[in-house]
């Protein structure tokens, strides 16, 4: 089923914090995107690119293994990883192995380690805590606080760029849309574009986040879609690779 997670906490070292409004969208078929904009960017670098990180991928870029007892292993080989795209020094390259553990409260703890200094150097452990929210609601509504089963029947639609010169993915789960568009081989912030939209009761899509000079080439209305069809926005072609109404 489609899912939407709000991050509550990020921890490397002894002191946790949460400086971003991070949402991770997971489609019914397992495609995913996580946008991590700073709430209050500090300094010139964060103002120029106001994201802690962003990544995305199709379901071919993640291996999911249920270990039982509410524990799931997820191994990622991201398609988009802004640290890789921007060649940020001292950030991880290659597969990331993570473990997801359901807490009684309904939140999910993610732990893992990365190798920012290279695969044969010291690893760095991290922890994140995720709050599942109901993707079909206009508000961020906490689900399963008392361990009730939550089953979303929200819609799940995914579009993917087909043009050679770009990578791009848009994931719609329920009312929440997140998407990216990156220009291949540009490898600067000039090549990155992100959207986050929220479908209001009126049916209109409100922009919650819009970044990048090519952001208007990302689809921002979603009528008359069907699986396999192609949408052309400002000359850029996007294929509907998943459609669950």
């Amino acid at each position: 089923m489609p899912a939407l997670f709000k991050r509550l906490l990020f921890q490397v070292g002894p002191q946790p914090n949460e400086r971003t409004f991070t949402l991770s969208s997971v489609s019914n078929d397992g495609h995913y995107i996580s946008l991590r904009p700073f709430v209050k960017p500090h300094g010139d670098s964060e103002s120029a690119f106001p994201f802690e990180w962003a990544f995305a991928g199709t379901n071919e870029t993640v291996k999911v293994k249920d270990l039982g007892d509410g524990v799931v292993a997820q191994d990622y080989n991201f398609w988009l990883d802004t640290n890789v795209y921007l060649n940020i020094p001292n950030t991880h390259r290659g597969e990331i192995n993570t473990t997801w553990k359901d807490w009684d409260s309904g939140c999910v703890e993610e732990t893992g380690s990365v190798n920012p200094f290279g695969p044969d150097k010291e690893s760095v452990s991290f922890r994140e805590l995720w709050q599942p929210v109901d993707p079909s609601r206009e508000d961020l509504v906490i689900v399963s606080p008392n361990n009730e089963t939550f089953k979303s029947n929200a819609k799940s639609v995914v579009l993917k760029v087909t043009d050679e010169a770009y990578d791009g993915l848009v994931i719609i789960v329920g009312r929440w849309v997140q998407g990216f568009l990156s220009k291949k081989n540009q490898n600067t912030v000039e090549g990155l574009n992100f959207i986050r939209l929220l479908e209001k009761d009126s049916g209109k899509f409100e922009s919650l986040l819009s970044y990048g000079k090519d952001v208007k080439r990302i689809p921002q209305s979603y009528e008359n879609l069907k699986k396999g069809s192609t949408v052309t926005i400002d000359g850029l072609n996007w294929e509907v690779i998943e459609y669950h109404a």
Copy 2:
């Protein structure tokens, strides 16, 4: 303003977790109650008393000091503290000093230390993370995820037992009600009673938590109240000590 907080995380030692569905209610005038029921009680002891902890107090039992930059010191001398009431070994006695820090995400981190082995013995540090939710909503709706100012105009009503043989407090913030009733000098779980109610769209109050053999002596409907009036439930008198409609 009245406030409702859902706890996201409790940490003593290296591993955080959250085994409870904890809500803390704070009235407009600063009276407070925190009920911390286990989601899945383990073993006989937790089944007999399925709470990690519960505490409550009037605004006379807490000192609040704004330290600026989103940091607030709160020093508690609880009125009800179930650890004290039940004489649980190796739990703190006396004032607890806590520090509350606003995170950019809208959550609030509480840190402090307790002295379970006595005031002159080693202290134990703890961390809790709190999600403010909108008390006027029937769902647990996350507020201020992007640091927007949240001002609740939810109602705030507080009732307090006046009979000599009992302590008791009920706090209504918006649609959410939490209350306790304890028999003085009983000092066993037999003397403790707790309620958590939620006012539905229909105006009816749904019971989310009901514990104790005297629980029916706690007011569970709240019509025709005004400040200073007294409500008698099954022979027990409760005074309305706060009323903001």
